[in-house]
């Protein structure tokens, strides 16, 4: 059984390279590559022949749309960042029992819930409580109750979910991950500002 971990922002450098292949111009990597990590992403973009617009310097040339670069909703490219939490514990929830601050969720039947690492301090925006779902152990599980500072609760019902299981908050909808577009729609925040903070506060891991 794997141990649970803090929420992690996984950065796919393969997706990033694929998103810009064949393009020329300038990649906007200000603010630590919009939270994706300039140190890991900069060399990948440079190797694809792009100039880098950093916090210090803006090169001449056409700027690639951020939605295309990072695979944001509507950009027609693959999301580069996936936010993954871990199941910290599971427990039964009886009919009528509430979840988290203010009891904004109450169980309509006996069910089970999982406590998941990742809260608004890691960029799991508080407003998505009761309005978005995660992907865990092959199931879509709704986020129930208010998102807390470092954790949130998801309803797992009868699904076989155990401590240490990965919980995908958002990623590549093409492979079944929840869509960041839902977070933008619910919050009215732009996708870049959501990712900027996730990348800054969640543990970031770049993968080839």
């Amino acid at each position: 059984m794997p141990s649970p971990r803090p929420a992690r922002a996984l950065i796919s450098l393969a997706a990033l390279a694929q998103n810009v292949r064949g393009l020329s111009g300038v990649a906007d990597v200000r603010r630590d590559a919009c939270g994706h990590g300039l140190q890991a992403c900069g060399p990948v973009l440079a190797a694809e022949g792009l100039a880098l617009w950093t916090d210090d310097e803006r090169p001449a040339g056409t700027v690639i749309e951020p939605a295309r670069l990072w695979g944001l909703p509507g950009g027609g490219a693959t999301p580069v960042m996936t936010l993954v939490g871990s199941v910290l514990s599971t427990k039964v929830l009886r009919v009528g029992e509430g979840v988290s601050y203010g009891y904004t969720f109450r169980a309509e039947r006996d069910t089970r819930v999982a406590l998941v690492s990742g809260g608004y301090a890691q960029g799991v925006v508080r407003e998505i409580g009761n309005r978005a779902h995660v992907r865990v152990a092959g199931h879509d599980a709704p986020i129930v109750g208010r998102v807390a500072m470092d954790a949130c609760v998801v309803e797992i019902g009868e699904a076989e979910v155990a401590r240490g299981d990965d919980v995908v908050f958002f990623g590549n909808p093409g492979t079944g991950d929840p869509d960041l577009a839902v977070w933008s729609d619910v919050t009215r925040l732009g996708a870049p500002e959501i990712l900027s903070l996730v990348g800054a506060r969640a543990a970031r891991e770049a993968h080839r």
Partner: protein, 343 residues
């Protein structure tokens, strides 16, 4: 950098004094999760120790170890979450108390402490209704029995919970569950464990929720509850202010060097009032790395604008109320990449 977070350690110290006198005779556990709510862990812990704070609360063990480094051997530190055996080992080595809220972690702590020949200090969490971390009441007696069988390896030094603050009556019901669980623990181990239930709001509003320790982060940083009492009534002041320099000026508006990617919430455009050398102005637009505000006579590059917080027209919680969220999230969304400037 053209933007920064101004952190007023004098205001922090005054808030700590206010918290201490309010919760006495209970003691204040200063919550320093997430880089001390984004204020910077080391300066906050250093000042808190100088002001007499003894107890610190963190979400994870790595933060607890950073508190130990900054605060020295005299602090008591509670880490709320155990991810793995390495966390248990590091907590044992640094004399960090561990929050335990399920049987699996309780067994892991007992096993690991026994293997190491050490004694772990545990605060056992009862689930009084939030249904996050915490042992359900029907499982509490079994957990206490496990503690008694593990006395060679662990000391039960605390019983704790979180309350929902959904309504006073529901919090009262949670408190009754808490007292029953703490009483059962006290009858089973010696000395009786410390009791801690309340965070900022309940600690101030409801004396009967204070018990031995009040876990307070928000009020120490001057973050009042949304929809709750004003700062003046609580006797606290916001510690942090998001500031930005003017980077460009045209006829009617001024551009400042902080934007949405820095944590200036784009939803505040058109509604936030900010502080300028010419008086209060409206935040007109928020771009990726810049924002515009209404101009003032004589505006020049380098002029400082206070966007939100203690030295701005609106506090973090004021801004949160415009957005339908809470001050903690507004503060924690300010980018950790921005420098912190202490005064």
């Amino acid at each position: 950098m053209t933007a920064w977070l101004d952190v007023d350690l004098g205001a922090f110290a005054a808030n700590l004094a206010r918290v201490r006198e309010t919760v006495a005779p209970a003691r204040h556990m200063l919550v320093v999760k997430d880089d001390a709510y984004g204020h910077g862990l080391e300066p906050i812990v250093t000042r808190a120790v100088a002001e007499g704070v003894e107890w610190f609360g963190t979400f994870d063990v790595p933060t607890a170890l950073a508190v130990r480094r900054a605060g020295g051997a005299g602090c008591r530190i509670l880490a709320w979450t155990v991810y793995d055996d390495a966390d248990i080992d590091r907590a044992l080595d640094a004399s960090v108390d561990l929050g335990v809220g399920d049987a699996f972690v309780l067994d892991a702590v007992i096993r690991r402490a026994r293997e190491r020949g050490l004694h772990a200090r545990v605060h056992l969490k009862i689930d009084t209704g939030l249904h996050r971390n915490g042992i359900r009441p029907e499982d509490w007696s079994a957990a206490i029995a496990r503690v008694q069988l593990g006395v060679d390896a662990i000391a039960l030094v605390g019983v704790w919970s979180h309350i929902a603050e959904a309504s006073d009556s529901e919090d009262d019901a949670a408190r009754a569950v808490f007292i029953a669980a703490a009483d059962e623990a006290a009858a089973s181990v010696t000395p009786p464990p410390l009791r801690h239930l309340a965070a900022s709001a309940a600690s101030f509003a409801r004396p009967e929720f204070r018990f031995d320790l009040a876990r307070i982060g928000a009020f120490a940083y001057g973050i009042r509850p949304d929809g709750g009492p004003a700062d003046e009534l609580l006797g606290i002041r916001p510690v942090a202010t998001l500031c930005a320099e003017t980077v460009a000026v045209d006829d009617s508006r001024v551009t400042v060097g902080a934007g949405a990617l820095d944590g200036l919430d784009s939803r505040l455009a058109g509604v936030l009032r900010v502080g300028t050398p010419g008086g209060e102005r409206t935040l007109l637009s928020v771009d990726a790395t810049t924002a515009t505000v209404g101009g003032w006579p004589g505006a020049r590059p380098g002029d400082v604008v206070t966007l939100l917080g203690g030295r701005a027209p609106l506090t973090a919680t004021d801004a949160a109320e415009l957005l339908g969220t809470i001050g903690e999230q507004v503060v924690l969304r300010i980018s950790p990449r921005l420098p912190r400037r202490y005064r």
